[in-house]
């Protein structure tokens, strides 16, 4: 591989992966904060408002890191992938600018009001501020998914004489079926992160015996949301997305599943290491016929293996794709098991005393981050070797006048700066968690920019 191409791919992959650690929490948490604010309005119980204030602080730290690491993403289309930007700007320029015009202005306006304006607004007014921040962040997510979905499954375009892509249907682009499926799956994944973080922090407080009134709210809201969305993550969102993918990116499906040869009644590989050289899975643990059933609904259907496709259309890193997919799917299964057990005990009113399960919930806190990251790696590594699936190769899109040396310079710069950000993030979040939700009320005025003369 050309080293400049490799550097530009790593550059985008690194900055995008680090960036998405923050929005997956803020999008999920935004929904749960609206739930807390709604409960506060409905019941008048101050515990819910204090809980919402505590999570708003965690949200604020994550949001600002999401903003500062998100700005580079919009620039990198032009800086690192200039030829791609030039050829496809007539299509993906639209969702990208729509995100700015329709979401960023909304979010930036109401975030300050939500974080600092509680005293200035009525309880209902503050609920609306929380709702608009939630709405803006979910809308933002949709435009990004539309952009990625068009690269995965290009629709609603024509090619001009110079080869550039141009939109021919505004709604066709925005309502790309791939985008709708991917959005459902992705947003459900974000709520899982938010739910596990909320429940995990609650479990930690319960195990420590601190802030127990708030902790029960965190665990209850986190477990109910976590159970619902872990289920939705697999069925129907993951199931439908997987079937659509098998139809339009069959070579990716074959590589994800580690299916080297076409089979009738194809098995599902649970564990094992793909061996590209001998075209097989080493140490396999498989369940027969399940893959055929999952894709086509019958256990005897034929599933095409990698052998059916020319090698120059195979995803470029099959082992990494295979592992990303298996890590995502494996963790998704664990989430269901943990949250189903927790929801059952919650219903039986035994959860808050079941220390063994509180330990498990707390230790699961990092796992949704890994699952969401692995899911995106599955989507993006699976798209290779294409930038625009079937139409434009990755090797044709990077900035060829930005040489490997300059690319490596800025990649190292981002790695250094993001290390500093990661340390700051951990210090700040750790501090907020140590302060706990009760203290959140006293601090509401510290640094409050809305305190005016």
């Amino acid at each position: 591989m050309d080293s400049a191409l490799l550097i530009h791919r790593l550059h985008f992959a690194f900055t995008a992966t680090f960036h998405y650690l923050f929005p997956q929490l803020t999008m999920g948490l935004a929904l749960l904060i609206v739930v807390l604010k709604t409960l506060a309005l409905r019941t008048g119980n101050e515990i819910y408002n204090q809980s919402a204030r505590f999570w708003a602080k965690i949200f604020g730290i994550n949001f600002i890191l999401g903003v500062v690491t998100g700005i580079p993403m919009e620039f990198e289309f032009g800086t690192n992938w200039s030829h791609f930007a030039r050829v496809t700007g007539g299509v993906i320029g639209q969702p990208l600018v729509m995100e700015g015009v329709f979401s960023f202005f909304l979010e930036s306006a109401f975030l300050g009001l939500f974080l600092f304006g509680e005293k200035r607004l009525s309880p209902k007014g503050h609920w609306w501020a929380a709702f608009l921040v939630f709405f803006g962040s979910w809308l933002s997510g949709y435009f990004i998914i539309v952009t990625d979905a068009w690269m995965q499954h290009p629709v609603a375009f024509q090619r001009a004489a110079d080869g550039s892509f141009q939109v021919i249907s505004f709604w066709g682009l925005l309502l790309n079926p791939w985008a709708i499926l991917q959005y459902a799956h992705n947003m459900s994944g974000a709520v899982i992160t938010g739910a596990f973080v909320m429940a995990g922090v609650g479990a930690y407080y319960l195990l420590e015996g601190k802030f127990t009134d708030h902790a029960r709210v965190f665990v209850r809201v986190g477990v109910i949301a976590g159970f619902i969305f872990s289920a939705l993550q697999i069925f129907p969102t993951g199931d439908l997305h997987g079937k659509y993918m098998a139809r339009y990116q069959p070579v990716t499906t074959a590589a994800m599943e580690g299916l080297f040869k076409t089979e009738n009644g194809a098995p599902m590989v649970i564990l094992g290491q793909p061996d590209e050289e001998h075209q097989r899975i080493d140490n396999p643990l498989v369940v027969n016929k399940v893959l055929s059933f999952l894709i086509y609904g019958t256990s005897t259907a034929e599933v095409k293996g990698l052998n059916e496709f020319p090698k120059d259309q195979w995803p470029t890193n099959i082992p990494l794709l295979y592992y990303s997919y298996h890590i995502m799917a494996g963790l998704g299964t664990i989430f269901i098991a943990v949250m189903a057990a927790a929801a059952f005990l919650l219903w039986r009113k035994k959860l808050y005393e079941s220390r063994w399960l509180l330990w498990i919930i707390m230790l699961c806190l990092p796992l949704p981050y890994i699952a969401n990251t692995a899911g995106w790696m599955t989507a993006e590594i699976g798209r290779q070797p294409w930038l625009v699936y079937g139409l434009m190769r990755t090797s044709a899109g990077y900035s060829k006048y930005v040489h490997a040396g300059n690319g490596l310079f800025t990649l190292l710069g981002f790695m250094g700066l993001y290390t500093v950000l990661a340390i700051l993030f951990l210090v700040l979040v750790n501090r907020e968690i140590a302060h706990g939700p009760s203290a959140a009320t006293e601090n509401v005025n510290a640094g409050n920019p809305y305190t005016v003369a």
């Binding site: 320029g93 306006a109 300050g112």
Partner: protein, 341 residues
């Protein structure tokens, strides 16, 4: 229609400079006019609820540019690779400097965040000025419409320039001084007492420097780009713009002398607007000129996206921006008045 999109992009960039300009100015002044922790907190609070929204104009402006003129976005962003990456790092430092400060106590932590905020604001102002200088001076575009500029070469304008040369350094100095004054007027409007007095003093002291560097940059522009006046000669009406720049400078001086903070701030907004409009009027229909061969210039004609998306775009883009303006009016009204101690 290309004419409309050119001006929509220009309006977005101008709005960004005017709005985020005072955030940057407040940051540049931060360490100099705010001495105590409380004063520094006040300076940050003057921009606290608005800076993030102001920065969105950069994103939405960049996005609009990408949407309307993909070739310009692709060529410009990859050609200005190094300075843009540095701008991104500075924007990150500024964001955490403003937002994370209040989460941590202690002299050392606060000093760290104040330093991030001030240093990144100073360098951003210089880089933005230099960037505009690069666009006016031109870049060595090749046959494919691409280029790559090192940070500096021999500090001369010419066929093989760097990001920084004597001309773009002047442009950087102009931006630094203009935004410092802009920020000083803004801080004066939003504060009272000692901070207000120090901000007013900075603005008065720097005014002669602003007049001088404005004239120097005008002379420098005309000496390296004699064709900059082509549009002005064709449409003499355009000479209203430089006259408006001069009037803004005079109004700034008079309001400052009478200690009318709001008037001085509005004059400073007008100065920035007319300077940028004047530059845009000189450049049109070029978007990025080639220093090697005028036939390689990137213009609104050869850089535009398809006409379907541009005409459909006018509908949703304008509705979206009207909504955004609504939020801005709402937020600035919520935040009116001076910041309390």
């Amino acid at each position: 229609m290309l004419f409309i999109w050119f001006w929509l992009v220009a309006v977005m960039i101008t709005a960004y400079v005017v709005l985020d300009g005072f955030d940057l100015g407040a940051g540049i002044l931060h360490l100099f006019i705010a001495k105590t922790d409380q004063e520094r907190r006040i300076v940050i609070r003057t921009i606290g609820p608005v800076w993030d929204g102001n920065e969105v104009w950069l994103l939405a402006g960049g996005g609009t540019l990408y949407f309307a003129f993909p070739l310009l976005y692709a060529s410009g962003f990859s050609g200005f690779y190094l300075p843009l990456m540095i701008v991104l790092w500075l924007l990150i430092l500024r964001g955490i400097g403003i937002e994370l400060r209040m989460h941590l106590e202690g002299t050392v932590w606060r000093g760290f965040f104040d330093g991030c905020f001030a240093l990144s604001s100073i360098l951003l102002a210089i880089f933005y000025g230099a960037a505009l200088g690069n666009v006016v001076r031109g870049v060595p575009l090749n046959q494919e419409g691409y280029f790559f500029l090192p940070l500096w070469t021999n500090w001369r304008t010419g066929a093989d320039p760097g990001i920084l040369d004597w001309y773009t350094v002047i442009a950087g100095a102009l931006a630094l001084i203009a935004l410092t004054i802009h920020g000083a007027h803004y801080v004066a409007v939003k504060t009272s007492g000692d901070l207000n007095l120090r901000a007013r003093r900075v603005a008065s002291l720097l005014w002669p420097a602003l007049v001088l560097v404005t004239l120097v940059s005008l002379w420098a522009t005309l000496s390296i780009r004699p064709d900059a006046l082509t549009n002005y000669r064709k449409f003499p009406m355009l000479y209203v713009i430089p006259v408006a720049v001069a009037l803004s400078l005079i109004a700034m001086y008079l309001h400052r002398r009478r200690n009318q903070d709001k008037g001085a701030f509005l004059a400073s907004c007008a100065y920035l607007i007319f300077m940028l409009v004047g530059a845009a009027a000189a450049v049109y229909p070029n978007l990025l000129v080639s220093t090697t061969d005028p036939a390689l210039n990137i213009t609104v004609y050869n850089a535009a996206a398809g006409s379907y998306s541009l005409s459909y775009g006018l509908i949703w883009w304008i509705s979206g921006m009207l909504l955004a303006l609504g939020y801005f009016v709402f937020i600035y009204r919520m935040f009116r008045g001076k910041v309390a101690a």
